[in-house]
């Protein structure tokens, strides 16, 4: 009897701990969800219980968001920037990662670490001089400033990730292709790349999500509403004077977060093995 009680309390406290952690992590999202669908009257009523609907849920905030704000424009901006940055990153990081993977060990390690270290240089150190560079280039207040600047943090990490994946392809296969008639580049394209497609997909998703999340550079370079990516637009534009349009704000936050969250969850294991260098099997 005592055994059973002990087991139950142990299990009980285990589940309690898990529940607490999960609630801590996920409650803000639940809050986002509920706020989005609550009618204004219900939302701003101090006397009602906020955890659930007290009046009928409404789609009004969503409608307003899509019909009367620039939300859709912001989503498209982010998507456009994301695609362009992915393209630039792939073009630079694929050959870069391969070069590091096949270079003699000593110089590859130095270069690799050097590139990896740039990842540690934060936007808050660079945003000031970059804002001057951007205005000198005439890209002020334009999405293209982001397309140019964002690869500075996607390229280093992706090159390092890809280097790890390329190293795992046995050299014999490339050598066979070289003896069979390919140039070094040809061997790379025809044998290494097809074998690393899952890794490349991971890099694409990772780059895209990194781009979608960025805030500091967007805040620094862009001021007109039509040019804002979704992270910036939602944070700054859904306010009239002192009044926050919470329903719309939460709805926007929710919609913009969901794809990123899904992508992260699907590719989480791949990210981890990339980060820990494949040490985790």
């Amino acid at each position: 009897m005592l055994r059973l009680a002990k087991k139950l309390t142990a299990e009980g406290s285990f589940y309690a701990a898990v529940a607490t952690l999960v609630v801590f992590a996920a409650f803000p999202f639940y809050w986002m969800l509920i706020t989005t669908f609550k009618a204004d009257g219900d939302l701003y009523d101090l006397k009602s219980v906020p955890y659930w609907f007290n009046a009928a849920p409404t789609l009004e905030h969503i409608r307003y968001l899509f019909a009367e704000t620039l939300f859709v424009q912001w989503l498209m901006n982010s998507a456009l920037v994301g695609l362009c940055v992915v393209a630039i990153t792939l073009i630079v990081a694929l050959p870069g990662g391969y070069s590091l993977a096949r270079m003699p060990a000593r110089s590859a390690e130095t270069l690799g670490i050097g590139i990896f270290l740039t990842y540690l240089v934060p936007p808050t150190l660079l945003f000031l001089p970059l804002s001057r560079v951007v205005s000198r280039l005439g890209l002020q207040d334009s999405l293209w400033s982001l397309v140019v600047i964002y690869p500075t943090f996607t390229i280093p990490f992706c090159t390092w990730l890809l280097m790890g994946f390329f190293k795992s392809v046995p050299r014999e296969i490339e050598e066979a292709a070289i003896v069979d008639g390919c140039t070094v580049m040809g061997a790379f394209v025809k044998t290494v790349l097809p074998l690393c497609l899952p890794a490349i997909l991971t890099v694409v998703i990772f780059t895209f999500t990194l781009t979608m999340q960025e805030f500091v550079y967007a805040l620094t370079f862009i001021s007109s509403s039509e040019e804002k990516p979704v992270t910036l637009g939602v944070a700054t534009d859904l306010i009239r004077g002192d009044i926050f349009y919470w329903g719309e704000l939460m709805g926007a936050a929710l919609i913009a977060s969901v794809p990123v969250a899904i992508a992260y969850n699907l590719f989480l294991d791949r990210f981890i093995s990339g980060i820990t260098g494949g040490a985790v099997k």
Binding site: V18, F24, P50, L125, I149, T152, M185, A235
Partner: protein
Amino acid sequence: MTTITATPRPMRSRFLLDRSEVVGPLFIAPAILYVLVLVGLPFLLALYYSVSAYSIFNPSFAFVGLKNFRDVIDSEIFRRTLVNTLVFTISAQIIGLLLGKIGAMLLMQEFRGRGVARALVVLPWAVPVSLATIAWLWMFDSLYSVINWTLIAVGLVDAANRPQWLGQEDLAMIAVVVVHAWRLFPFGVVIFLAGFTSVPKDVLDAATVDGAGFWRRNYQIILPIIAPIVLIALIFGTVFTFTDLSVVYLLTKGGPINSTQVLGTYAFQVGILSGDVAHGAAICLFLFPFLLVAVILLLRSLRRREI
């Protein structure tokens, strides 16, 4: 056996792409160029601005020596900012680390709904910073905060004296630290999970057979083995928190009265909003020694790691 005296001809140009000495550097050049031009150069530019009198209204490169740095250090706001940044970073890291470890230990167990739990726990880290922070902004709202509502309903707080999370100095600090830690801990969970699963099972079994109990196994066997990975994650996490601008900017913009001002937001305010590029650059550069330390630590622990 005939002796060949022919001398090899120099490589014809049509074989240029066959030579790995050509293709290797060619392939890595764009990445290096990108980094040099858009990271290296701006950094040098920041140094340059910090010793000039440059501002948006007066873009002159007059050399002023270390005057900007002296101005900045003399400013009380700056000193407050520096202290704030350190306090936030350390607190958020400790909380994040603890929660991360606990979370990983919990999620290591098999239980029904583990996949769902893991997906939910990862959310704070996965979701864009600004959007998550806005949700917290709403949760900390002066009138409609759900946290306050709960505290009042439970009786811990009196409706007339409801806490102004973002309006009172010490509460604002707590709020910012909580949001930082909330964002950080899933990263910790993921790293610890990866670390735990990388410990070879035979090592654990040997320890159990040798009589090591739960705590000893944890602290004397597992922790030392995963220390390198955790250290690297810790360094990155610290750098991200120390240099972060988004959370503070969106929650409090540095207020009330600079009680939550951090280096990032202060540099933004001075350098961009006020247009005083020279002083802004000087503030930014205070990040640098800290980063240097982080880099050295990182390199040391990378060396020690057995890959």
